[in-house]
Amino acid sequence: MKTSAMLRHTLLTCAALVFIFPVLVMISTSLKPLAEINEGSLFALPREPTLEPWLKAWGTACLSGACRGISGSFANSLAIVIPSVIGSLVVGGVTGFAMSLRLSRLADWLLKAVLIGLFIPIQVTLFPLIILIRELGLFGTRTGIILVHVLWGMPFVCLLLRNHFLTVPRSLIHAARIDGAGFLDILRHVILPQSLPICGVALALQFTFIWNEFLLGLTFAGPGNEPITVALSVLTGAQYGVQEYNVNMAATLLAALPTLAIYLLYGKIFLRGVTTGSTND
C-alpha cells in the first residue's frame, strides 16, 4: 500500500504545482526589471528583484489619461463591493427566510424563478438594464453599479440562504411565534444566530464574485467609478508606448490579492459554498 500512497501523493503534488505555477510566474515576472523580461525566460527567477513595478502599478502607471496607477480603482472596487455585499445579504436573507417558510405559493414560484434566473446570461438583459438604470437616473454612478450587483447577486444568495434556513427546526419557529414574535423578530433572534457560518459563506462568495466581475462594471460604472477589473483590462490592453509586462503582472496580482486573501483565510467556506445543493442530502 505504501507505493500507492506515494503514487497518490506524487500525482497530487504535481497537480498542485501545475495549478500554482501560473501564480508563481506572475510573482516572479512582477519582480523583474523590464530588461530581464525581454531577454530572459519565463522560468528564470529574477536576478535583480525589484519592487519598482509594484510601486508603479499602484501609484504611477498611466491608464486612460491619468497616471495614478490602479490604486484609485482598487478603492472604487472596495466602495462598490462592500455595500453590494451587504445589500444582497440583507435582501437575500429576508427573501430567503420568507421562501423557506413556504407558507404561500409565491414561495415556490419564486424558488423556480430564482433557480432559472441563475442561468440567464447577463448579455440577454444588458440593454434593457441600461434603460432601467437610466430611468432611475443612476447610470454611470456608484449607486447604479451597486444596485445592479445587488440585483444580479440576489438569486444566488436567496437560494443559498433559503436552503440553509430550511434546516432550522420548525419547532423553534413555532415557539417563537407563540411568544409573539413577528416575521423580522424570528429572523433576527431565531434564524440569524444559527446561520452565522452560512452568512459568512454568502459574504465571502459574494465578495469574490462582485470583486471579480467585469462586464457589469464595464457597462454601468461611470468614469471615475470603474472597478479594478476594468482598470486592469485597460492597463494591460494599452495601445500606447511600450508594454511593461512586469507592471502588468504586479497590477494583476494587486487586483487578485483581496479575493486571494479571503480564499486563503476562509478556504473551507469556498468548499461549503460550492458543494451546497450538489449532493443527495
Binding site: 486612460s64 489619461g65 438604470i133 437610466r134 447610470f139 454611470g140 495601445q239 500606447y240
Partner: protein, 442 residues
C-alpha cells in the same frame, strides 16, 4: 466631476429655477425688514449668478486624446477655448475608437449626455442624430467651403451640423525603414506588382517584408490600401460609397483579393494580436521593411527621437492615382437644456474651426487639418505631401466607416479578417465572403 454634472442627472425633468445653486439658509431669526432685504439680495445674487453662468458652468469634454502627443493637441484647443472665455472639465474615455464611441453612446443613452464628446463621423452619429440625441451647432459657411465636400456632408444631418471635424487621419500610408531598404537594394515600390517583387527579395534576405498587427482593423487598413491600389479611385468609390455589387463581382476585386492573399506570407509569426504601437516599434527596430498604417504611427516614430520621412520614410501605398483615404475624428455635442452650456458648445465648435487651432492641433497629432486652405509650414514632410494631395477633390476618399451602415462595416471587417487569417481560402472564396456580407447587411 464638478457639481455641475450632478445637476443634470435629472436635468431634463427639472424646471429652470431648480438648477440654480441652492445654499442652505442659516438658522437665524430675522425681522420682517431683514427678511425682505434678504429676499431681494438673494434674488439679485441668483440673477447675477445666472447671468455669469457661461463662464461658471464648465463644459464636460469627453475624449480619447490621452497619450502624450494627443494630450498636447488637446491642450492647444483648451488654451484657445479658455482664452475665448470658455471653461471645460475633461472626462477621458477608456480607449480610442470603438471603445471610446461605446463609452460616449452609453453616456448618452444612459441619460447623462456629455457636453462635448469625441466621436467618428459615420452612421452611428447619424443614428444618434435621428433619435434627437445630438445637439446641432451653428453652421459656418466659410468653414463648409474650406473643407472637403464629402466631410462637410458627413458632418450634417437634416441640413444642420451635428459634429465638428477635428482633423483628418490618412489611412493609406506605407511607412518603410530606409536603412533596411537600402541594405537590401530595394526601391520604394510604386505599384503592387513592384511591391510583391520587392517583398520576395526582402524575404530572401531574412527581413520581414510587412510589419502587421493581427487585429481586424489593421488587416482592413491593408486591404483597403490594396483595393485602392489595384482598382483606382473610382473603383474604391463604387465599392465603399455605392456598394455596387457588380463592382464586387468584377475582375478588379478578384485581383485585389489575390494580391491581398499573396501578402499573407510576408508577415512574421508574431503578428497575430499585436497592437499597432508594438508593430510600429517592430518596423523602427529594423525587423521589418514596410508598415501599412495610418498617420498616427508618426507619433511613435517621433517618440523614439526619429523624424518621419527621414530614417522612417513615408509614402502613400502603391496606387495608380494619388488618393487619400481619410478617417475623420470629430467632436459632437449632447443635448443639454441649458442655454449657457449650449453657448459653450457653440464656442467650442468655433474654437475647433479656427484655422490656427486646426493647424497647431494637427501638427501635434501628426494628422492634417480638415481645412484645405491652411499653409503647410510647420508640418512634417509626410503631412505636407498629404495636404497637397487632398487639394484635388477627386483624391478625397473616405474610410468605409463614414459611408457604410455600422452593421455592414463590421461585417466586412469580419469577412476581410477571416480571409486574411484562414490561409487556405482562395481569392474567389474571399470575394464571395465580401459579397455575402454585403447582401446580408444592407
Amino acid at each position: 466631476m464638478s457639481s455641475g454634472i450632478n445637476n443634470y442627472r435629472h436635468g431634463h425633468k427639472q424646471p429652470a429655477a431648480a438648477r440654480l445653486p441652492r445654499e442652505p439658509l442659516p438658522r437665524v431669526k430675522l425681522s420682517r425688514t431683514e427678511r425682505c432685504f434678504a429676499l431681494i439680495a438673494g434674488a439679485l445674487l441668483s440673477l447675477s449668478t445666472f447671468a455669469a453662468a457661461p463662464s461658471a458652468q464648465p463644459l464636460e469634454v469627453m475624449h480619447w486624446l490621452t497619450s502624450s502627443h494627443d494630450a498636447a493637441a488637446l491642450a492647444v484647443v483648451r488654451e484657445a477655448f479658455t482664452s475665448r472665455g470658455g471653461s471645460w472639465v475633461e472626462s477621458p474615455m477608456p480607449g480610442p475608437g470603438g471603445t471610446g464611441r461605446t463609452a460616449a453612446v452609453n453616456r448618452i443613452v444612459g441619460g447623462l449626455p456629455p457636453g462635448a464628446f469625441q466621436f467618428s463621423l459615420g452612421s452611428q452619429l447619424v443614428e444618434l442624430a435621428t433619435a434627437g440625441m445630438i445637439a446641432p451647432v451653428r453652421t459656418n459657411t466659410q468653414w463648409d467651403a474650406a473643407i472637403p465636400a464629402s466631410i462637410a456632408l458627413a458632418s450634417k444631418y437634416g441640413g444642420r451640423d451635428i459634429a465638428v471635424p477635428m482633423n483628418i487621419r490618412g489611412e493609406n500610408w506605407m511607412f518603410y525603414n530606409s536603412a533596411v531598404l537600402r541594405r537590401a537594394g530595394v526601391a520604394v515600390p510604386r505599384t503592387w506588382d513592384d511591391f510583391l517583387a520587392a517583398a520576395i527579395k526582402l524575404k530572401a534576405t531574412g527581413i520581414t517584408p510587412i510589419a502587421l498587427g493581427g487585429q481586424a482593423w489593421q488587416e482592413r487598413l491593408l486591404f483597403n490600401s490594396v483595393l485602392l491600389g489595384t482598382g483606382g479611385r473610382e473603383f474604391y468609390r463604387r465599392i465603399y460609397e455605392q456598394v455596387d455589387e457588380r463592382a464586387i463581382g468584377s475582375a478588379a476585386m478578384l485581383r485585389t483579393y489575390s494580391i491581398f492573399g499573396a501578402l499573407r506570407q510576408f508577415v512574421d509569426s508574431g503578428s497575430p494580436g499585436r497592437r499597432w504601437n508594438q508593430t510600429t516599434a517592430f518596423l523602427i527596430q529594423g525587423h521589418a521593411a514596410f508598415l501599412f498604417m495610418g498617420d498616427w504611427a508618426k507619433n511613435e516614430i517621433i517618440a523614439v527621437g526619429l523624424e518621419p520621412g527621414v530614417q522612417i520614410g513615408c509614402a502613400l501605398a502603391p496606387a495608380p492615382e494619388p488618393a487619400y483615404i481619410m478617417m475623420v475624428d470629430a467632436f459632437a455635442f449632447g443635448r443639454l437644456k441649458t442655454p449657457a452650456l449650449e453657448a459653450a458648445q457653440n464656442l467650442f465648435a468655433q474654437t475647433l474651426r479656427d484655422p490656427k487651432v486646426q493647424a497647431r492641433m494637427a501638427q501635434k497629432l501628426g494628422a492634417i487639418p480638415v481645412r484645405t486652405d491652411i499653409s503647410d509650414s510647420g508640418f512634417d514632410i509626410c503631412s505636407k505631401h498629404a495636404m497637397s494631395i487632398i487639394r484635388e477633390p477627386q483624391a478625397q476618399l473616405l474610410d468605409p466607416f463614414l459611408t457604410l451602415a455600422g452593421g455592414l462595416s463590421g461585417a466586412l471587417d469580419d469577412a476581410i479578417s477571416q480571409y486574411w487569417n484562414q490561409k487556405e481560402l482562395s481569392a474567389e472564396q474571399g470575394r464571395k465572403m465580401f459579397l455575402e456580407a454585403v447582401k446580408n447587411n444592407r
